[in-house]
């Protein structure tokens, strides 16, 4: 789901072994990923609308960054810290736009 509410399916090759941030960026979605995936800029923040239980819990570095995001909720994660796995199929995520 884009920041404007529009929805689009995202197909990802099995075993791509990339982060959600990299896959979204490669797909042309509005994800800057400025810091390159080291949980530093939070420009890849997403809300997990369904399928949260399929994800590994956030690590300390990710939690520290999420703590600083004004718009963050319990469903918010950093896309760069989520490594895509086949069992994540069907998850719904919303891209958070940071102005």
């Amino acid at each position: 789901m884009n920041p404007d509410g529009s929805q689009a399916p995202l197909e990802v090759p099995v075993n791509i072994n990339l982060s959600l941030m990299e896959v979204l960026r490669a797909g042309g979605y509005p994800i800057p990923g400025t810091c390159g995936g080291i949980a530093l800029c939070a420009t890849c923040a997403v809300d997990i609308l369904s399928g949260n239980e399929k994800l590994s819990p956030a690590g300390d570095q990710e939690l520290d960054m999420l703590d600083l995001l004004p718009q963050s909720t319990a469903a918010t994660r950093l896309g760069c810290q989520i490594r895509l796995r086949p069992e994540m199929d069907g998850m719904i995520i919303r891209i958070i736009s940071e102005s």
Binding site: P32, L40, C41, D64, L68, E98, S99
Partner: protein, 340 residues
């Protein structure tokens, strides 16, 4: 910095003193081009010094493992023969083009650097305060809204509202409880991940009535007439609360931004500067972008790629610095390092 020369003239101005900016001095030096570096941070090294000085890096050729800070020190040693100048702790603001094609860069501290070529090695950009989505926030910047506590004494006997849940918000709440007339902390969660000591102290202060603590709450709107006067707070349990305030300090950390560079007329794509991968030149003549700040097909944000880009960009920049001379490529193993 007070002892820095304010009016500089050089061949190449490098914006950003991270590893790629530093190594660019070496590549320029081999071609007898002088460099001056400008960085918003007060020290050289960029991300390496600021973010991971003690983390090992494994993909620098020739070093199976090297610490971030050690790499910075080695680069400084490597470029010392070419005597680069430094303007540190100052942010580049504007660039002006002279009739002879030269460029003059100005900083926020009124330094100027006149150069023949501008090499942007700005990495992630500069780190600026993250601004929450609050109605009226930017309107009251400098009129009651500040993103950093510069002078705590200026808040003495004032009515201060802080927002945030990190260490900064906790630490300033505790400190200001004894300085300000009234301190209110607004946090969107109900727990703090900051230091447990600080979190405990904040809860104690709230219990003792020395501060007001709003949990599960967000500041929604700022009100005032020329200066901030009131703000509204929305909590899960209560209807919106409107309280009086003199100073509002949102503390939500820093986020990297391109800053004023974005206003220079450069093409910008997703916070990066597109370049010609043949020589890393931008859409503006005499301006190059190297390292993490640029983008081109196949771009990898790696230090070693930035080093490569620096070498090619300097070879290309030579024509602007020495327009009457022919560039001849020389190996250091044959010609050595000819210091300035």
């Amino acid at each position: 910095m007070e002892d820095q020369d304010k009016n500089i003239e050089t061949d190449i101005c490098i914006v950003g003193a991270g590893p790629v900016g530093l190594f660019a001095v070496f590549e320029a030096g081999l071609l007898k081009m002088r460099c001056h570096l400008v960085d918003a941070l007060p020290q050289v090294g960029g991300q390496l010094s600021e973010i991971y000085p003690h983390k090992p890096i494994y993909d620098i050729p020739g070093y199976p493992q090297i610490l971030g800070q050690e790499l910075v020190e080695r680069l400084m040693e490597q470029i010392a023969p070419f005597r680069p100048g430094f303007t540190l702790g100052e942010r580049v603001e504007s660039v002006e083009r002279g009739g002879d094609g030269s460029l003059t860069i100005s900083t926020n501290e009124h330094s100027t650097i006149k150069c023949k070529v501008l090499m942007i090695a700005g990495g992630l950009g500069c780190f600026e305060p993250r601004k929450p989505a609050i109605d009226g926030l930017t309107e009251f910047e400098g009129k009651g809204v500040a993103y950093i506590v510069r002078n705590p004494e200026a808040l003495r006997d004032r009515n201060v509202v802080l927002a945030g849940g990190g260490d900064s918000a906790l630490d300033w709440t505790i400190f200001l409880a004894d300085v300000a007339a009234k301190v209110t902390l607004v946090h969107r969660g109900d727990t703090f991940r900051g230091s447990p000591d600080s979190a405990g102290k904040v809860f104690e202060l709230a219990k003792a009535g020395k501060i007001d603590l709003f949990l599960h709450a967000n500041v929604m709107t700022l009100y005032g007439n020329g200066h901030l006067q009131e703000l509204s707070i929305l909590t899960h349990q209560l209807p919106p609360t409107r309280i009086a305030v003199d100073d509002f300090i949102p503390l939500f950390g820093l986020t990297p931004k391109l800053g004023p560079i974005a206003e220079w007329g450069l093409d910008i794509v997703q916070s990066a500067i597109p370049v010609n991968p043949a020589d890393y030149s931008t859409n503006l003549e005499r301006i190059y972008a190297i390292g993490d700040i640029n983008t081109y097909p196949g771009k990898l944000k790696l230090i070693l790629c930035g080093f490569h880009e620096a070498a090619l960009a300097m070879q290309s920049a030579f024509k602007y610095v020495f327009p009457a001379e022919k560039l001849s490529f020389k190996y250091t193993t044959v010609y050595g390092i000819n210091a300035f």
